[in-house]
Symmetry: C2
Subunit: 396 residues, 2 copies
Amino acid sequence: MRARAAELDAADPLRSARDRFVLDDTVYLDGNSLGALPRSVPGRIADVVAEEWGRRRIRSWTESGWDTAPERIGDRLAPLLGAAPGQVVVGDSTSVNLFKLLVGAVRLAGDERDEILLDADTFPTDGYLAESAARLTGRRLRAVPAALIPAEAGPRTAVALVNHVDYRTGELRDLPGTTAALRAAGALSLWDLCHSAGALPVELDRHGVDFAVGCTYKYLNGGPGAPAFCYLAAAHLPRFDSPLPGWWGHREPFAMTGDYAPHATVRRARVGTPDVLSMLALEAALEVWDGVEIGTVRAKSLALTDFFLECVATLVPAGAVESLTPVEHAGRGSQVALRCAGAEGVMDRLVARGVVGDHRPPDVLRFGFTPLYTSFAETVRAAVTLAEVLAPDADR
Amino acid sequence: MRARAAELDAADPLRSARDRFVLDDTVYLDGNSLGALPRSVPGRIADVVAEEWGRRRIRSWTESGWDTAPERIGDRLAPLLGAAPGQVVVGDSTSVNLFKLLVGAVRLAGDERDEILLDADTFPTDGYLAESAARLTGRRLRAVPAALIPAEAGPRTAVALVNHVDYRTGELRDLPGTTAALRAAGALSLWDLCHSAGALPVELDRHGVDFAVGCTYKYLNGGPGAPAFCYLAAAHLPRFDSPLPGWWGHREPFAMTGDYAPHATVRRARVGTPDVLSMLALEAALEVWDGVEIGTVRAKSLALTDFFLECVATLVPAGAVESLTPVEHAGRGSQVALRCAGAEGVMDRLVARGVVGDHRPPDVLRFGFTPLYTSFAETVRAAVTLAEVLAPDADR
């Protein structure tokens, strides 16, 4: 398998992208939790701190482009999401953006649509914020499995919030089909792209998605707690009515008027003062995408996860793990989830041997594959190490 | 006046604090908009990026203390606000925090209290978010001048949102009296400390304030768009019910349960993943406060603004400017606001001559005094330059 890995690495069109990151001899398969550091970031951040904050100070809001960074970085992200310019803005956390867009979607849908549908296996924060949005807008929240949302959407459905990739199992949901079914029911779609943005093509515009949110610290490598993004389809912009109408979403923030008048553009989804240091670190981090096609990333992602599943099946003692990740490519994100007794302890031993993934309760080992920097050689090493840790005679 | 300035600088107990900042020969009087860069920040941020993110990666959430940074930094801020530990948490923007605390306060106040009082001269974003909170909770929003809030608060008042220092005029409001009057009316208080935190003693606990928010990028020098803070009086923590119940406010975020159960502590005011780079820049920036008493800061602030007003009265042509800043110390924050025809152009000319303040519509020049780094020599230079710019024969 090591020879196969060497061949696959030699033929990898993304091979050189690895040099754009700070890496060491750890096999880092946790980029689905926190992406590795791009080499473009440290120098840029040093300059932002010393020159833009330290020397230009207040002038940097205009002279260094701080004021327009959220939309500028949104437009830099847009091609990775399949979005035309002017529909993506960066800022706040995914949770805050979920609230903004859920309440905004409910308002757009109108009073006769009194139900919010929620992906029953959602990442928890989405459910918590959906509960809050439902409570504040007087809607009913109904959780149904993602696969059933097309059938469950009806004349009472205002919006459905669905995770594009399940954070636990790595299952990729049917975005085109679900979005189309929601539209046919007269309902709006809100997709959580945290585990797909930067890992696979999303094609928001092409599939007619209404709203989307996502974080930038996983496959987009923006840094710990980097600002999240939101996507508002152009058609909805004129009527989008945010529940968080902060001054930076105002048509003229520095007119300092008492009445809120939303900006004509996607800027109306902004709230308060953007966190410039984190935001400009993200902007620098996005340089790793220069010249990279998301389709190439997807092809390598599937090859990596195929290869990992094959290595695990070959090397790991039979019955020690069970894959929760769909075998079919159409249903797979960019991670492999293995159910395993004592997952937390197993992961600790993997980490001690230089293979970093993570675990999710109660019994899931997660291995994230970031095509820009993960090699096939690392993939086989991860499987070999897992086999060692799970061997009946392993030293625990 | 230059001789007086030299004497005052020589006797200044905060003289050496200036060395903790990166400064140049500009007279920077815009620290009430963006504080200057503390020398402690660049090295720390370089280390956070290269070592904590770049080398330790995901392990830093626990090993580098990222997970608890919002409460830890909150406790570092607390003494500057007169708050005992466990009541301040850092994160999100001021606008988002205003929404959290307004809705939380309305819920605490109960359904029979159907009115939110708003400082009529509020910084605009507070009004926008108060309008949104009122709309979503079915309350009435009523704007009244800050000085009338004690008289206007009644049995229907749930909460009053008041700016501690007026962003435009620099007027310091009566926090103790207003808070006591609200309490007497059975209403809650929510103070916006953006223009007072780090500039003067606030004494939240002593005066029985219920809730407060503030930014950290002005007198706290946390950097552009640094995370804001919120204060929740300990008595309210057990019942505080956030409208933004994100996973990081959950009792066990990594249990990943579908039901929201708020953390027992002030952590329940957290929402999503904290923006680590901006947050740790703020933490490093707070080192400038080591050994500094806020009372000393206040004394110097008043001496600086007294001196500036005196210099302006002496040097600037009669009638060219009118001070909007209260003469009485009890009513003054840490800025001087001068009404002046053509304020925007006047400020441009001041900046071109190395004196940086800002202007606010329609006709206000603002000069912020940051006692940690502003000297009396700079103060007289600012007044001299203003006099030059406003001289009848000045070259425009």
